[in-house]
């Protein structure tokens, strides 16, 4: 029988070393031992991803590594998530996410999405090249608390400003997160956004930092 610590270590290590099979195996074992699924997600998978974020910040890992770590994380999440009772999620939040019209790249968007998936949010993923009004419509339809948008190109990012204005006009309480290579913090502030992730890559570290904060909150709570 494996102890919780041993299995958490295996989950973490598996994410960091992008060993998807190890992560899947350890996730299954975690459930078989009767441990709490959400603990495995937060203290195993998410904790591993935090280490990945550090490695990325230190220029030891780059986007290819992070993408493979994300695959490993999702491998575990698919096994553990169904065993988290709704009451235990701690979060009952929804997010609308997508890459803005004119932008057909979605690596950054997908990495931010991972953060919400880990945290157990309901994610409404509009995909990429999303017309501006679709963000507004989907937010209204779902009453999501957060709208997260990314743009890789300078030329597409100005569209974000319009979406933010449209959403804030209809529902001032919605939090807006922006990310993408050309969006700087100044731009995000200027556009009236509430959160910001600096690039496809920095979306990784920003997203991961948010996981870290969620974990802290959970530990305190």
């Amino acid at each position: 029988m494996a102890t919780q610590e041993e299995l958490l270590e295996k989950l973490k290590e598996g994410v960091v070393e992008y060993e998807e099979d190890t992560v899947k195996e350890a996730s299954q074992q975690w459930l078989d031992e009767g441990y709490v699924a959400l603990d495995g997600i937060m203290d195993g998978l998410a904790a591993g991803m935090e280490i990945v974020g550090d490695l990325y910040d230190k220029n030891e890992y780059f986007v290819p590594e992070v993408l493979m770590c994300a695959d490993a994380l999702y491998g575990g999440l698919a096994i553990l998530r169904p065993h988290v009772p709704d009451s235990e999620e701690g979060v009952n939040a929804q997010v609308v996410i997508g890459s803005i019209q004119g932008d057909v790249h979605d690596i950054g968007k997908n990495l931010v999405k991972m953060m919400f998936d880990v945290a157990g949010w309901d994610v409404h993923d509009l995909g990429r090249d999303v017309p501006l009004e679709n963000f507004v419509e989907e937010q209204l339809r779902t009453d999501s608390e957060v709208v997260a948008m990314s743009a890789m190109m300078t030329t597409t990012m100005l569209g974000m400003k319009k979406v933010i204005a449209m959403i804030k006009e209809k529902n001032p309480n919605v939090a807006i997160m922006l990310g993408g290579a050309p969006v700087t913090k100044d731009v995000a502030n200027l556009f009236g956004a509430d959160g910001y992730a600096e690039s496809a890559g920095n979306a990784v570290s920003e997203g991961i930092k948010m996981i870290g904060r969620l974990r802290e909150m959970r530990a305190k709570g």
Binding site: N59, F62, V63, P64, E65, L67, M68, D71, Q101, G102, D103, V104, H105, I107, D129, P131, L132, M153, T154, T155, T156, M157, L158, G159, K162, A181, P182, T184, D186, V187, L190, S199, A200, G201, N202
Partner: protein
């Protein structure tokens, strides 16, 4: 000394011969909305018509006093030429460049280019636009560009296939990169033969916010070098995003000039490459010419900082965003001429 023509200024700069003042030019798109409006064109239409493309490029340069005329504007020509559909966003009120919404190739194995690639899609049209631009603006330097192989791969395949493939399918990635490289050499040659005075290789998506320096050395550098070797001078290598860690490798690729965006620490780069290398870029194409809140005075100060940052030409760090503020754009070019009267590290003054 007599004033040089824009073309003379650029060509002398590339040879590191003294110039009258600092050039303002680019190797990336610099088409501007005031020019498109003046001609009565619409942005989505200029990508599909050689004459509209050439005339809007020439008008942009003449209206604002740029030294170069640059075509094409979008990154989808080669991908369209192999059969992908492009979105032109004709119904959008925003300025959006053409994109490839869905790629026909789903795996790396499928990547194969027809021998006559330069006769397909809009590539002949771009060649035609280069010729028209040359006729319409004989005093301007005509710039053409192509994407580097890794960035081009993102127009042909889902990028995460390649990114993950760097580890999981090394041989396949190398093969795909070689095929794309050979295709790009042909397209670059076609643009050059059509009359480009200089060429820029934009291997944009390979900064260290995406790839490791190790991957850059192994996968990117040999192909970048091969493409640059296939071109006669002048030739420029541009990379976006975090580039500080790969500057020395970029400097080994055979380009006459290196170009960066705002994430590069230019003063450190100058130390690394020495005073003999032409350095361009590091100029914020949104903040300075476009942002509503940026005054012309602030733009002027920022361009002075850019020039003091040891660039040899004022050269936007990316495509100029077409919807510029006229006052700021003019102030930026004027400052380049005035403040750029002093010599730059690689180029003296007459």
């Amino acid at each position: 000394m007599t004033e040089l023509t824009p073309k003379e200024r650029v060509m002398r700069l590339f040879k590191k011969e003294p110039v009258d003042t600092m050039p303002f030019f680019s190797g990336m798109g610099m088409v501007l909305m005031p020019a498109i409006n003046e001609l009565g064109y619409q942005f989505p239409k200029v990508h599909n018509n050689a004459e509209m493309m050439a005339k809007s490029a020439v008008m942009s340069s003449k209206m604002f006093g740029f030294d170069s005329v640059v075509v094409p504007y979008d990154m989808t020509c080669e991908s369209q030429a192999v059969g992908n559909k492009i979105s032109l966003y004709e119904d959008s009120i925003d300025i959006l460049y053409p994109t490839i919404p869905e790629k026909i190739w789903k795996t790396m194995e499928e990547v194969e280019f027809p021998d006559n690639i330069t006769e397909l899609g809009r590539i002949p049209m771009v060649c035609e636009a280069i010729k028209i631009a040359k006729q319409e603006a004989p005093d301007h330097a005509i710039g053409g560009w192509i994407l580097g192989p890794f960035t081009m791969a993102g127009q042909l395949l889902e990028l995460d296939l390649l990114l993950k493939g760097v580890f999981k399918q090394k041989d396949m990635v190398e093969q795909v990169m070689d095929r794309i490289t050979d295709m790009l050499i042909k397209v670059g040659k076609a643009y050059k033969d059509a009359g480009c005075d200089y060429m820029t290789l934009r291997e944009m998506a390979t900064g260290t916010d995406l790839l490791s320096p190790r991957t850059w050395k192994k996968v990117i550098q040999p192909r970048v070098k091969k493409i640059l070797d296939s071109w006669e001078s002048p030739k420029v290598l541009h990379i976006c995003g975090a580039t500080d860690l790969i500057v020395p490798m970029m400097n080994e690729c055979g380009a006459d000039a290196l170009s960066f965006d705002i994430k590069n620490n230019l003063l450190e780069t100058r130390e690394k490459v020495g005073d003999d290398m032409l350095l361009f870029g590091n100029f914020d194409v949104y903040e300075l010419p476009c942002k509503e809140e940026t005054t012309a005075e602030e733009a002027v100060e920022a361009i002075k900082v850019n020039i003091d940052g040891t660039v040899d030409a004022v050269w936007p760090g990316c495509d100029l965003w077409p919807d510029i503020k006229v006052e700021n754009m003019k102030a930026i070019v004027d400052t380049t001429r005035e403040y750029g009267k002093k010599p730059s590290p690689a180029v003296g003054r007459t």
